[in-house]
C-alpha cells in the first residue's frame, strides 16, 4: 500500500540554521504518526513544509503517492491535507459557528458568491453546527471565538481543520498550553478520531504520544534520530539521552533513569 504521506530528504535552512536537516519519514494510511523532539527541533517547520506554508530547499513530499512538493497550500487542503496550529489560529472576532462555516464554505468550492448572506445559508450552517456538536462545542456556537476558554479554543482550532473534510491531519501540538484535565479530554478526542483520519501528531507531551501513536519519530536539531514503534522509542538509548532524559526532569511521573 502506498504511504499516505512521505517526506524524502527534506531540507530547510533559515540563514545559517538548518531547521530541517535531510528529513525523511512516512505515514501509513490510518495510523497516527507522532513526531516528538525538544523545543526548536524543527517540528513546526516540518508542519509548515508539509502543509505548503513553506517551501523546502531540497527534498520531495508525496501525498497518497502524488508529488505535492510544489503545490500551493490551499491546493493541498483541497487534496485532503489539513493542518492545525500550535499557536491557536482561529478567527477571534467571528462566532464559533462562523469559524467553522468558513471551512465548510471553502470545502464547497469557490467563494465568488457576492449577494446571499451566509447567515441565511443553511448549506453552510447545518454542517457547521453538526461538526461543532460532535467536537463538544455545540452549546458555544454563537459565542465570539476569542471569548472561548483556552481549551475550547484549541478544540475549535481542530474543528476548523476537520470541517475541510481532510483525509490527513497535521496536528501541531494540539495539547499546547493545556492543563492536565484539558489535555486528557483532547487525548480522548483524538483517540476518537483515530481510524477516520491519518494523522501526523506533533507533540511535546510524552504521555499523550505513547497513548496515541502507532509510530514515533524523534527529531533533534532538524534530524531524525530515531523512528519506530512506541516501545522501540521508549527503549532507544539515543532517544533517552537526547530527549527523554531531560524531559524526565520536567515530568513528575517520568520514566525511570536510563539503564545505559
Amino acid at each position: 500500500m502506498t504511504d499516505a504521506l512521505e517526506a524524502q530528504g527534506l531540507i530547510k535552512a533559515f540563514g545559517g540554521l538548518t531547521a530541517t536537516d535531510n528529513l525523511s519519514l512516512s505515514v501509513a494510511p490510518g495510523e497516527i504518526h507522532a513526531v516528538i523532539g525538544p523545543n526548536g527541533a524543527g517540528k513546526t517547520t516540518l508542519v509548515n513544509l508539509l502543509s505548503g506554508m513553506m517551501r523546502p530547499d531540497a527534498g520531495r513530499i508525496l501525498f497518497n503517492g502524488g508529488d505535492i512538493t510544489r503545490m500551493a497550500a490551499p491546493a493541498r487542503v483541497k487534496a485532503g491535507l489539513a493542518r492545525s496550529y500550535q499557536i491557536t489560529s482561529i478567527f477571534r472576532d467571528f462566532t464559533v459557528l462562523e469559524n467553522v462555516m468558513l471551512s465548510v464554505q471553502a470545502r464547497q468550492g469557490h467563494s465568488f458568491r457576492f449577494w446571499k448572506p451566509v447567515s441565511r445559508d443553511t448549506s453552510l450552517m447545518d454542517p457547521a453546527r453538526e461538526l461543532l456538536a460532535q467536537v463538544g462545542l455545540g452549546d458555544r456556537v454563537d459565542m465570539r471565538a476569542g471569548d472561548l476558554a483556552y481549551g475550547e479554543q484549541r478544540q475549535l482550532e481542530i474543528a476548523i481543520s476537520l470541517a475541510t473534510e481532510p483525509s490527513f491531519l497535521l496536528l501541531d501540538e494540539p495539547m499546547a498550553g493545556m492543563g492536565p484535565e484539558e489535555s486528557q479530554k483532547m487525548i480522548a478526542f483524538l483517540r476518537a478520531l483515530k481510524g477516520d483520519y491519518t494523522m501526523l501528531l506533533i507533540e511535546h507531551d510524552m504521555d499523550a504520544v505513547f497513548v496515541l501513536a502507532d509510530r514515533i519519530t524523534v527529531l533533534v536539531y532538524g534530524k531524525v534520530i530515531a523512528s519506530g514503534a512506541p516501545e522501540e522509542i521508549r527503549n532507544d538509548p539515543a532517544v533517552r539521552e537526547a530527549y527523554l532524559g531531560d524531559d524526565d526532569t520536567e515530568h513528575e511521573n517520568g520514566e525511570g533513569p536510563a539503564d545505559a
Binding site: 502543509s51 506554508m53 500551493a72 497550500a73 490551499p74 491546493a75 487542503v77 483541497k78 489539513a82 493542518r83 496550529y85 489560529s89 482561529i90 478567527f91 477571534r92 472576532d93 467571528f94 462562523e98 462555516m101 468558513l102 471551512s103 464554505q105 471553502a106 470545502r107 467563494s111 465568488f112 458568491r113 457576492f114 449577494w115 446571499k116 448572506p117 451566509v118 447567515s119 445559508d121 453552510l124 476548523i160 481543520s161 470541517a163 475541510t164
Partner: protein
Amino acid sequence: MGELGKPANIFTALVLVIFALTPIVAPALDESFYVIVFARFMIWGIAAVSLNLIMGYGGLISFGHAVYLGIGAYTVGILAFHGVTSAWIQWPLAIGVSGLVALVFGAISLRTKGVYFIMITLALAQMIYFLSVSAERYGSDDGLSILARSEFGVSFFSLNDKTTMYYTIFVFLLASVFVSWRLVNSRFGTVMRAAKSNDTRVQSIGVGTYRYRLTAFVIAGMMCGIAGLLQANLESFVSPDMMSWHRSGELIFMVVLGGMSTLFGPVTGAFVFLMLSEILAGLTIHWHIIFGPFLVLVVIFARGGIAGLLTRRADRD
C-alpha cells in the same frame, strides 16, 4: 436599548436625514448653497464607502484610492471633450476603466504587504496623477471644463436639474452602502474579512486569498469610479487635484474618523470631516493647524472612530 436606539445609529440617521432633506429645506432657509455642498459631501461618502470595503473589511490600506475618483471623472470629461455625452456610453466606460486600472494596480500591489502595499498603491496612483498633469490637451494642471453633463436621452431625467443631480447622488450613496452590506455578509465578504484577520489561516483551510482580495480591490475601484463620474457631473469640471495623494489621505481619514468596518461609518466620517474643514476654514485661514491635531487625537483616543466612540459611550451607560 434596541439596535436602532444606539447613539451611533441615531447619528447616522441624523446625517442621512440631513442629506435627504437638504434640497427641500435649504432653499426654504435661503441657503441653497448647501445643496451643492452636501452633494459634494455625499460623493466623498461614496468614495469613502468604497475605500472602507477594502480597508475596513479587507485590511488593505490603499493610499492611492482617490485615483479612481480621478479616472471616473476624467473618463467623463475626456469623452465630453470629444463630443461623447451619452451617459449610456460615459458611465459604463468610466466604471469599466476604473475597474481595469484597479485590476492592474491591484495585481501589482497585492503581491506586497504592509508598508510596501501602502507605498506601491501611492506610487501607482501618482503615475496617473502625473499623467493627468502632463496631458496638455486636457488642460494639464488647470483641469478640464465639461461643457455638457452626461445625457440620458430622456425628457424626464436630466442632470442639469439641480435637484435631480442631488438625488441621483443620494441614491448612489445609499446603493453603495447597500452593496457593501450585501458583499460583506456574503461568502465573498466572509473570505475577505477572514483574510484580514488571519490570512495564513484562510490559506490553510484551502482558500487562496489573492484572487478574492484582487476582486475586492476591483469592486472598490469601480465604486469609487462612480463617485468620480458623479463628481465630474456635479462640478462640470475635472482636474488632477481630484486624485492627488492628499485626496487619498483624506479618504483614509474619513473612513477612520467614521469608524472602519462599519457600514455607515465612512458616510458619517465624510460628513464630519468635510463639515469640520468647512467650518474651520471659515474661522481662520490657519485651520489646518487645528484640524491636523484634531485628526491625530481622533486616531489615538477614538479607536473605532465616531461609531466606536458612540458605541462605547452607550455601553458604559
